[in-house]
């Protein structure tokens, strides 16, 4: 599996500025790595109101169990929500927090 270099905060910044892509080749590797983790405990989005509201959620560890919903992480912009998911997965994979 591709190993993310946690010091590459420039790639984090590229994503923050342009969350919808297209991404540079190096950011593409990072994004793909963040998308390739196990389904179990993956941070995802739930669209709670079509076109209007997205909430962060976490997949369970066991197939069929309930999602964990993060009621304090709700966004009215899809790309702001996508940025939050990127940030949370980056932190989970690299151990490094992004402010």
């Amino acid at each position: 599996m591709y190993a993310i270099d946690a010091s590459r905060t420039d790639l984090v910044e590229e994503f923050r500025q342009n969350p919808g892509g297209p991404y540079s080749p190096e950011l593409t590797l990072v994004v793909n790595r963040l998308r390739l983790g196990p389904m179990e405990e993956r941070y995802i989005l739930v669209c709670t109101k079509r076109g209007r509201e997205w909430m962060v959620a976490k997949m369970p560890t066991v197939r069929g169990a309930k999602l964990e919903l993060f009621e304090d992480r709700v966004f009215d912009d899809y790309y702001a929500a996508a940025w939050e998911v990127f940030r949370m997965r980056w932190e989970a994979v690299t151990g490094q927090a992004i402010r």
């Binding site: 995802i44 989005l45 739930v46 669209c47 079509r50 959620a57 069929g64 309930k66 999602l67």
Partner: protein, 744 residues
């Protein structure tokens, strides 16, 4: 999140039919139902294109809400078990192929009464070992376990023999082949402190333990994941050698007169019946569609087609998440009025802040057409995708679709309610592929106000037809399957949805016959006419699929199981059956990509006088469809191209082709014999949609855009754009009865 769901007794109805609507609420004590006509189901608020029309109906009103219980999991039930006569010795045995022996207690063969704790149950215990439970109905209960876990995905001969004279029970498990593996063979003998009571008025259940269904009546629990072959019940305690001989014998009642029942699952493949070939005719039935036409313990590999060697396909594969008919009680009925306009309708259900649309299709009266154009609703495809779980289970979903998993409320509901079953894109909880998808259950992705995949994007086409005042009748795939070309003949033209992917042989034959008889087909979609599927003649409302060979198949089909159960036909891609979609509609799928869509550029053939009607009002250099809801362009999601080698007619005109595809758009597996570094939409010239037109010999014609995303470009700018213009040019010419003429 979701507080109300429901389903209808049928998807396609005729005026005069009675439709039942079944509803379940999760919290709300009341709900409101209203009939609506669905025109455009895309409710993205910034687009402003959602349309529905409220229709008066006798059922409109308020109803009490209740939760209707649903239990998934397949099993067999034999209502009348022959008596085990005095002195009461008996042997129960079968071949089993457990796929999840480590997943808790699972019933195998049980004639057990939980109420009185009497009878027997051969089962897999909590440690994954074979065990026999016996009870005398007077407090005497024993679980006798071999103590050794069964091997995963390996055939075992399992048996329990009880000798009434000695009260001894011997339980044994023997794997079929062990030369290369550690043996999981084990047996145990124990003397009981009571007389086992084998006689029992309860039915016999296989692949589960009996239980009461939460809605009342017989049901099951502790479902077995795996295969069972040749279960037998004998009226004496057999020796190990006798058990083995009986297991291998296909005609057991000839060998041993003490055989009470011997079920041969190789009979009745394609149906729900299980036949007892023993002396007592203890026949039974399968519940919730376990998989039949699957390899038995004795599959030699000499035959790949179950019809040529049914005795090697005498197993049934059970799953704890199988489904067929959830069997809810109807909340209300609706008699479809004789004068109801043909269209897509729904019973709109509202409970607190949630709503659900039980969607169905109203045809014109049988044998009539009330418009010159028929919209052929892709109900086979909607069924194949019904309750699609892929994004909930598949690790590679995000890199396939280049997105961050974004679920809607229906997905969240399915995640928490596995009893509503899976789609043909999913794997069962034991890792085996899903072959059957039923519409006799709430289908969370066949409704308006759902994400743009399967049913809902087709409503972009309906919304456009209504905007342009083009009248249409609605007919469905299942109707075409049952009625053939006669269904289509009254129509001057037929228009598809965005994604008519799944076709049964009768559907294919009916459409082809229509085209051969001057019919006109407007294929405003992509990835169409791809997979052969089958409907059952015995069980309505279920589709079967075997993903043989290759294609975008999501998982490999089991070797030796490429032939459909319902029809005995070879499954898989129509392309691999020698009837590629190019031979029917001129184009077939070449690539998929879900992040960015391309646009079309006119080719030289677009200036041929035969094609001039298509481009009326469109400039010579005008790019077509460089806008749209799906990926920002009209050519995308899944795209099709022409290919004379696969049957595109020699006189067909490829009038435009797409460009502008992304690096995340890839060739489909069947388009390349090997992987290489130029399989993407930036580099590979084969990745394009070909807009194609050809005439047929009786005055008909076919027009194909070869793109799922096309329909989602129709609403752009208030339906005023060149995709809508071009589509209207084609439809209006195709509705003009003046014959097309084949070129010289």
């Amino acid at each position: 999140m979701k507080k109300i769901v429901g389903y209808a007794s049928a998807w396609s109805v005729l005026p005069g039919d009675t439709l039942s609507i079944m509803v379940s609420t999760y919290g709300p004590k009341r709900y409101r139902a209203d009939l609506v006509r669905v025109i455009c189901g895309d409710d993205e608020p910034d687009r402003g294109i959602y349309r529905e029309e409220e229709i008066a109906a006798p059922f409109n009103g308020e109803y009490p809400g209740r939760t209707q219980p649903t239990v998934a999991g397949s099993y067999l039930i034999v209502p009348d078990v022959p008596a085990i006569t005095a002195p009461g010795s008996f042997t129960v045995q079968a071949w089993i192929f457990p796929t999840t022996p480590d997943r808790g207690e699972q019933g195998l063969i049980a004639n057990w009464s939980g109420e009185t704790a009497s009878g027997f149950a051969l089962l897999i215990d909590e440690t994954g070992a074979l065990a026999m439970r016996l009870g005398d109905g007077n407090g005497g209960v024993a679980d006798v376990s071999t103590g050794r876990p069964l091997a995963v995905r390996r055939w075992h001969l399992v048996a329990a023999a009880y000798d009434a004279a000695t009260k001894e029970v011997r339980v044994s498990q023997e794997p079929l082949e062990t030369p290369l593996e550690v043996s999981s063979a084990a047996s145990v003998t124990r003397t009981l402190a009571f007389d086992a009571a084998a006689n029992n008025s309860a039915p016999l259940v296989m692949a589960a333990l009996p239980a009461e269904h939460p809605a009342g009546g017989p049901g099951a629990r502790n479902h077995f994941n795996g295969k069972i072959d040749r279960p037998r019940l004998t009226g004496r305690a057999l020796s190990r050698a006798e058990i083995t001989a009986l297991a291998w014998d296909a005609m057991p009642h000839e060998r041993d007169t003490s055989v009470i029942a011997a079920w041969d699952f190789a009979r009745d493949i394609g149906g729900t019946r299980i036949s007892d070939v023993g002396p007592n005719g203890a026949h039974g039935r399968a519940v919730n569609l376990p998989s039949r036409a699957v390899k038995g313990f004795n599959w030699s590999g000499a035959e790949q087609n179950w019809r040529h060697a049914p005795h090697e396909y005498g197993a049934i594969h059970f799953h704890d998440d199988d489904h067929y008919d959830v069997g809810w009680q109807a909340d209300f009925d609706y008699v479809v009025p004789e004068n109801l306009r043909s269209g897509v309708y729904a019973a709109r259900l509202r409970a607190e802040d949630d709503e659900w649309y039980v969607t169905f299709f109203v045809r014109p009266p049988r044998g009539t057409a009330t418009a010159k154009l028929a919209f052929l609703a892709s109900t086979a495809t909607y069924m194949a995708y019904s309750n699609y779980h892929w994004q909930l289970h598949e690790r590679y979903a995000e890199v396939t679709e280049s997105f961050w998993t974004t679920l809607d409320k229906g997905d969240v509901f399915l995640q928490e309610h596995s009893e509503f079953g899976l789609s043909t894109y999913d794997t069962h909880s034991d890792g085996s592929g899903v072959r059957y998808a039923s519409r006799l259950r709430p289908v969370l992705n066949m409704a308006p106000k759902t994400p743009l995949w399967s049913f809902n994007p087709d409503t972009h086409i309906l919304g456009w037809l209504e905007e342009k005042g083009i009248a249409y009748d609605v007919i469905t795939d299942e109707d075409l399957h049952h009625e053939g070309v006669g269904l289509l003949e009254p129509y001057t033209a037929v228009i598809t949805g965005t994604h008519p992917e799944y076709y049964t042989t009768p559907m294919w034959d009916g459409l082809r016959a229509y085209l051969a008889r001057a019919g006109r087909l407007v294929y405003l979609g992509g990835n169409g006419f791809i997979w052969r599927c089958a409907f059952s003649s015995e069980m309505p409302g279920v589709l079967e699929l075997r993903r043989a060979e290759d294609g975008i198949r999501y998982r490999d089909e089991e070797p030796g199981e490429y032939y459909l159960e319902f029809t005995g036909e070879y499954g898989g891609l129509w392309r691999r059956l020698g009837m590629a979609p190019q031979a029917l509609v001129g184009v077939g799928t070449v690539a998929v990509g879900f992040d960015v869509s391309g646009h079309y550029r006119r080719k030289e053939a677009s200036f041929d006088p035969r094609a001039s009607f298509i481009f009326e009002g469109i400039g010579d250099d005008e790019l077509i469809g460089d806008f749209g809801i799906l990926g920002g362009g009209a050519s995308g999601s899944e795209i099709d191209a022409a290919n004379p080698m696969l049957g595109t007619p020699a006189h067909a005109l490829v009038v435009a082709s797409s460009e502008g595809h992304s690096a995340n758009t890839y060739l489909v597996p069947d388009e390349t014999g090997f992987h290489h570094c130029a399989m993407d939409g930036v580099q590979n010239p084969g990745i394009r949609a070909d807009m194609t037109f050809f005439e047929t010999s009786c005055g008909g014609a076919v027009f194909s855009v070869g793109s799922i995303a096309w329909g989602a470009s129709l609403p752009h700018n208030g339906y005023d754009n060149n995709v809508a213009r071009l589509s209207e040019n084609v439809v209006r010419r195709f509705l003009d009865p003046a014959p097309f003429t084949m070129p010289e």
